[in-house]
Symmetry: C2
Subunit: 440 residues, 2 copies
């Protein structure tokens, strides 16, 4: 590579193209994503959650400790020119933020104060086949509370409230939270005398996707009892305020069921301050992940069925890392998925192409110092300011501001002892102004 | 995995340990790192730089287009259970933010406005042997300006100014920027009639590390001329304001040299608004990367030699991606390295363990709704607020605030019609307060 050749060393042009499943945005859309992240973070902090970041990488053994179906999607790392040293450890990119959080809590157990309330906004990676709405690299915004031994029900109501506020902070269509408690469905099925509860819950989870008729058919086949299958489906179709009365009308007695009803009632009671329709008791919410043990929730756009976030309570997520019982509850916003979906549907209005409030015109090279001083004075007062880079025609400088969406253009005096002027690019209005007093 | 077993499925405990070269911080230090990133970002935006994020992953061919010595440090991705589909593309983690930026500019060329001023604050990965001060995963904060065909000298002065302001925004020991221009040293060596200029510049780059005597010996050996070697070294030892006069006193005539002197003078003139000693002309600054062609700079703590940031101008970094001449200038803050170094030296004062301003006491379960309403009222007024999760003894609730470093504890009335009180945890003072009017 020679000094002047840059990276054109062999004059080969590698024509870049998007890599399937990995997204990037133009500056005017990235600015919106960044605003979203700022707003979500502010809500998380307003409830006292602290931020952590874990490495992108975990040991494969840590990622596999959880088990499950993610194994085949894990990306492992190999150095391009690997040597014998590389066999020592197997490293892989995390596929969610929950396993790294559990590992973090276990590893730093003695340095954390419990209940440990953390938020984490990082990318995760999954090597799945790319398809619409699926990404190989994606941001998630997670909050979790983890405690030692027992975790107060308080948090089962707090986390949905935080979650709702976070969505509300964004300029997106209104959302609704569908909330249930696993104990209700599991207790009910136990009370009914169903033997294979996990099988039935897994099928009930498909109600939205394949419909009640199809699920009834599968359950009837598996249980050998069409009436029982119907009763199983009945619980998952219960919704709304009087959910407890509706459940009790089904006439099943079970302690776990009663516990679940009590918990869900507490949660719904403590979400009453939210707007009408924000939180809906919905016993059809199962959530696929087997480790949920109590409250489960899913966030959807009002009246739509696609999930844009969710979470739930787990009894002991860090149990494979430490000999402590660490129950927790967590919720997650699938940021990249949500953003890409709304972008695709035309819901995201692009921001300006740069954060600049004011472009200071460079009248001529001889007045560079004065123009620079004006720019510095405005910056000191908190404005985002560019000084134009060339003493070229004013028309060209204005055109730069226009193309980048810069709302104000500042004219320092072209001669000594003349006033400053500022032009509002939206209205076209141009007025005298003082850099030490001007306000937008 | 059973429902209640969480991830303890087989009761195996995987004891987590830090992975060498990958760092993570406790919440009280992560909070400081996050403040740093906010401050750096604010400075970058104050000069009108827009943010972009590129995927963590590029095609290996894109990363290798640049050539150089990073090849063996590149981490490639392989799915844990790879299949024939995986052979289609070779993906790898980026090792810096410059190559991805060049690829981004080439790929989105028609959608960007030039000069394109972007900042990027992301992690990069290098599979090097871990050692003190070296990380396999690290944050960099980069700003670059890229233009089509020519890039005004304006930016050679602007970028060091932005860089300095970014460091100044952090609570760290004072820094100084050492600035040179490659054209000076290269032009001077050409004027001296040196044949192997790249060899000599590479050796001059080692002056700080191995000393003038050793470099003189190597150069004398290579050039076969001890006097010439001495002249080569003389230029790299020139510092300070009158650098141009000092260079001219060496009596070498060369056009490129003159161009470099003019450019460096322009840069130094336009940095005069910075504090005394912030910017130092230092012809000993070479910067290893071969693609720099003009201005080069390095940031150091005052009076120290270790580099904590730097950058320079390059003629054509995106040339391997697109058939356009795209000169640029960029500077980079090695955030993780800087943070870890100052943490290690005890310079980083931990923040509180959570962002909470106020802990609202839960007097008893029967007054949960009132306590929650108090917390919401304070949150609406912009405070970060936790409601204690249990109606346990007040002493225990206070102890939670103390352990987490929460500065205020709020007592909603324990009975109807009594006043609210708030306790300042630093002074111990407790006073009556109104949640709709209270200020910190």
């Amino acid at each position: 590579m020679n000094r002047n050749g840059g990276i054109m060393s062999e004059n080969k042009i590698y024509k870049p193209k998007p890599v399937s499943g990995f997204v990037e945005w133009l500056p005017e859309y990235r600015a919106v994503e960044l605003q979203w992240m700022d707003k979500i973070r502010a809500v998380f902090e307003r409830y006292g959650f602290c931020n952590i970041e874990t490495p992108s990488v975990e040991e494969v053994d840590a990622l596999l400790a959880k088990g499950g179906e993610t194994e085949k999607e894990i990306y492992t790392l190999t150095r391009l020119q690997a040597d014998e040293h590389d066999k020592d450890s197997r490293l892989a990119l995390h596929f969610d933020l929950t396993v790294p959080m559990a590992r973090y809590v276990a590893q730093h157990f003695n340095d954390l104060v419990f209940p440990f309330k953390r938020y984490q906004m990082q990318r995760s990676w999954r090597g799945e086949r790319p398809q619409k709405g699926r990404y190989r690299e994606f941001y998630q915004c997670d909050i979790d509370v983890v405690n030692v031994d027992g975790l107060p029900l308080h948090f089962d109501a707090e986390l949905p409230a935080v979650m709702f506020e976070a969505y509300q902070a964004l300029d997106i269509p209104p959302v609704e939270m569908h909330i249930s408690n696993r104990k209700i469905v599991v207790g009910y099925l136990q009370g009914l005398g169903v033997k294979d509860v996990p099988f039935v819950t897994r099928e009930l989870d498909k109600l939205d996707k394949i419909g009640a008729e199809k699920v009834a058919e599968i359950l009837a086949g598996h249980l050998g009892d069409a009436a029982l299958a119907g009763k199983c489906i009945a619980i998952a179709q219960i919704k709304d305020r009087d959910f407890a009365a509706q459940v009790r009308a089904l006439g099943v007695q079970n302690d776990l069921l009663e516990e679940g009803l009590g918990e869900l009632s507490f949660v719904m009671d403590n979400l009453k301050h939210l707007p009408q329709g924000a939180a809906i008791a919905d016993l059809g919410i199962i959530r696929g992940l087997d480790y949920y043990t109590g409250t489960v929730l899913e966030v959807r756009f009002q009246g739509k069925s696609i999930s844009i976030g969710g979470g739930g309570r787990y009894d002991n997520l860090a149990g494979s890392f430490i000999n402590q019982k660490l129950p927790g509850i967590g919720v997650s916003i699938g940021l990249t998925r949500l953003f890409a979906m709304l972008l695709d549907e035309g819901h995201i209005k692009p921001a300006a192409k740069c954060p600049t409030d004011v472009l200071v015109v460079l009248p001529d090279e001889g007045r560079r110092a004065e123009a620079a001083a004006t720019a510095h004075a405005l910056r000191r007062r908190g404005f985002n300011v560019e000084l134009y880079h060339n003493a070229t025609k004013v028309k060209k400088q204005l055109s730069y501001a226009e193309k980048k969406g810069i709302p104000y253009v500042w004219f320092p005096p072209f001669e000594e002892d003349r006033p400053h002027e500022v032009k509002n690019m939206n209205t076209g209005e141009q007025t005298q102004a003082d850099p030490s007093a001007w306000k937008i």
